[in-house]
């Protein structure tokens, strides 16, 4: 059985990527998870400089989901390259570096720096973090903004460039098209949904940042729909995510149109989820006699089983 999939020129052993912001820099998990057995590790969003992020509380649980407003705390790209990348390289991880900037120049500089580093396999352009103003969301909510930042980064690096789209827009497919036209190698979606929770006893927001991003199983049906819409709009490989917690969920995203997936929130609940997902995918492939997993991508059958029997 062949579980490998191709994200542009990058072939990864299986479609399971640890989602950015949900797996630290990967090294935190190096002793408990075989990093080389993952399709890849998307490391926590990095700016050029270190950042301390938002004042806690930074997360709050919601029905079948959670809000986060971490505020992109991070060590900055230079310390990442010096302190984390060597271990990731040694552990043979496929590394997707998630980058954030305030200006196009910052994205371009991050991409240049990372292109020169040994052990970086792809750049995920975070233009969709909902809970900080400077995290590129201004690019991610504007079609020209998306186009401009993607094409600038595209010119600055030989690495695959993967803009990560926000779901907080009216027509996500138009952003997929903008990314494609600007030369992206793939797109990833969805980042979190802008949301909030209130402590009714104190009448204060539960998060110090007031708003945060909703992730987890709660959002899965919306994320699947968005992947499906993008699949029809572009030819680019899609990395789908949003609430994946079981092998069935992985398959659902792939059938909707994803080439690979990321798993975030569910890996908080079960850090050893990866082998369970792989086992479940293999069992499905056996049951359905699928030799090559990538054949599954975009195979949703929408020919109606039942015709409307009455004019509606």
């Amino acid at each position: 059985m062949d579980l490998s999939v191709a994200i542009g020129s990058l072939r990864i052993p299986n479609p399971l990527i640890a989602a950015s912001g949900c797996f630290g820099y990967g090294v935190e998990y190096a002793d408990s998870v075989d990093l080389s057995s993952l399709g890849g590790v998307a490391v926590k969003g990095l700016f050029l400089a270190p950042r301390e992020g938002h004042v806690p509380p930074r997360i709050v649980e919601t029905p079948s989901g959670m809000l986060n407003a971490i505020g992109l705390q991070g060590i900055g790209v230079h310390r990442f390259i010096d302190e984390k990348l060597p271990e990731l390289r040694e552990r043979k991880a496929t590394v997707f570096v998630n980058i954030c900037g305030t200006t196009i120049d910052e994205y371009v500089e991050l991409a240049r720096i990372l292109s020169d580093a040994d052990g970086v396999h792809a750049i995920e352009l975070n233009i969709s973090c909902p809970n900080i103003k400077e995290g590129g969301i201004t690019f991610g909510c504007s079609l020209p903004g998306t186009h401009n930042v993607v094409s600038a980064v595209r010119r600055a690096t030989r690495l695959p460039v993967i803009p990560k789209l926000t779901p907080n827009v009216t027509d996500v497919a138009s952003f997929a098209r903008a990314a494609e036209e600007a030369g992206a190698d793939a797109i990833s979606l969805v980042n979190t949904f802008l949301a909030m929770a209130i402590d009714v006893e104190t009448r204060r927001p539960k998060l110090t940042n007031i708003v945060g991003g909703l992730s987890g199983p709660a959002i899965r049906p919306i994320a699947v729909r968005m992947v499906y819409e993008c699949r029809q709009a572009v030819k680019l490989p899609i990395i789908g995510m949003g609430g994946i917690a079981t092998a069935e969920d992985v398959l659902e995203f792939m059938i909707a149109g994803a080439t690979a997936v990321q798993v975030g929130t569910a890996s908080f609940v079960d850090p050893f989820i990866w082998t369970k997902l792989l086992d479940g995918i293999r069992a499905y492939m056996r049951r359905h006699r699928i030799e090559t997993l990538s054949d599954l991508t975009g195979t949703l059958d929408t020919t109606a089983r039942h015709k409307a029997w009455i004019s509606s």
Binding site: E28, Y29, V55, R58, E61, N68, Q73, F268
Partner: protein, 274 residues
């Protein structure tokens, strides 16, 4: 390296309307647990509540032959997950991930060990007391609660040979008021030449107060902080506390892997949210 055990509930002993001791069959965790470490417990089998909850390892359970059998947690009901755990019955199964976090560092004689607990902050001190006593270190527990009915498990410590000083806010047992008062008195009574270390766990304002008392007496002090935790493994950055690094510069550091136990002087108390 933490392990995830689908642990059978051996028993769930209700101590009061809001406290219970939950015993879990998890030998693989019991084998490696150190004092001050914690587990992440899934409080139900569905997706609501979604996230695990952190709990100090309260006791190590052993079979008659001394081999590790599991752990207990000292559960205080304060919300959805802890209520589900309070209601759990023997025979149910709970996913239990651990042991996690940076443990306490037990001192050796002649250093004295003074443990200071507020409410459910008692949880990490049974295993710490055992480790200290095994080394021959003399142990005292200062235990503060709102009222006498909230002072649980003193007999466990008595059996171990721990000296106990108690305070209650309503004066219904021991010294009336906060535990910092009897602690300060006792610290003043000890000669500076007698080495001593404080270990503290409880509500944040109490830990901050005790850290202040310790500093004013020039005593080393370890605190076990309680932050909301999404993953317990360093993945999510939800659990950060403001701490000074070696150079004295303050940073947000993850209390799940850099803690939960910290040297009190590292914490920027005025910035710690509770």
């Amino acid at each position: 390296m933490p392990v995830d055990v689908d642990a059978a509930v051996i028993s769930n002993t209700r101590l009061s309307d809001d406290y219970s001791v939950l015993a879990l069959a998890a030998p693989a965790i019991a084998t490696h647990a150190l004092p001050g470490q914690f587990v992440m417990l899934k409080t139900s089998r569905g997706r609501d509540p979604l996230l695990r909850r952190p709990f100090s390892i309260f006791q190590i359970l052993r079979h008659d032959d001394g081999s590790p059998r599991g752990v207990t947690v000292f559960n205080k009901r304060i919300g959805k997950g802890t209520s589900l755990l309070y209601d759990v019955e023997a025979g149910a199964r709970l996913e239990c991930l651990g042991p996690l976090g940076r443990p306490f560092d037990p001192v050796d004689p002649p250093v004295l060990a003074w443990m200071v607990a507020g409410g459910v902050g008692l949880a990490p001190f049974v295993t710490l007391a055992e480790a200290l006593i095994a080394r021959g270190t003399a142990v005292t527990l200062f235990y503060g609660a709102r009222r006498a009915a909230d002072l649980h498990c003193a007999p466990i410590f008595e059996r171990l040979g721990v000296s106990i000083a108690v305070s209650t806010e309503d004066g219904s047992r021991g010294t009336p008021g906060l535990i910092t008062a009897p602690l300060s008195t006792a610290l003043s009574a000890i000669p500076a030449s007698q080495p001593l270390r404080l270990y503290v766990c409880g509500p944040t304002p109490m830990m901050r107060a005790v850290a202040g008392v310790a500093a004013s007496h020039g005593r080393p002090c370890d605190v076990s902080l309680e932050q909301v935790m999404g993953c317990g493994l360093g993945g999510c950055y939800s659990c950060v506390v403001p701490a000074r690094d070696a150079g004295g510069v303050p940073h947000h550091t993850r209390s799940c892997i850099d803690g939960p136990v910290f040297d009190a002087t590292r914490i920027v108390w005025e910035a710690l949210v509770h």
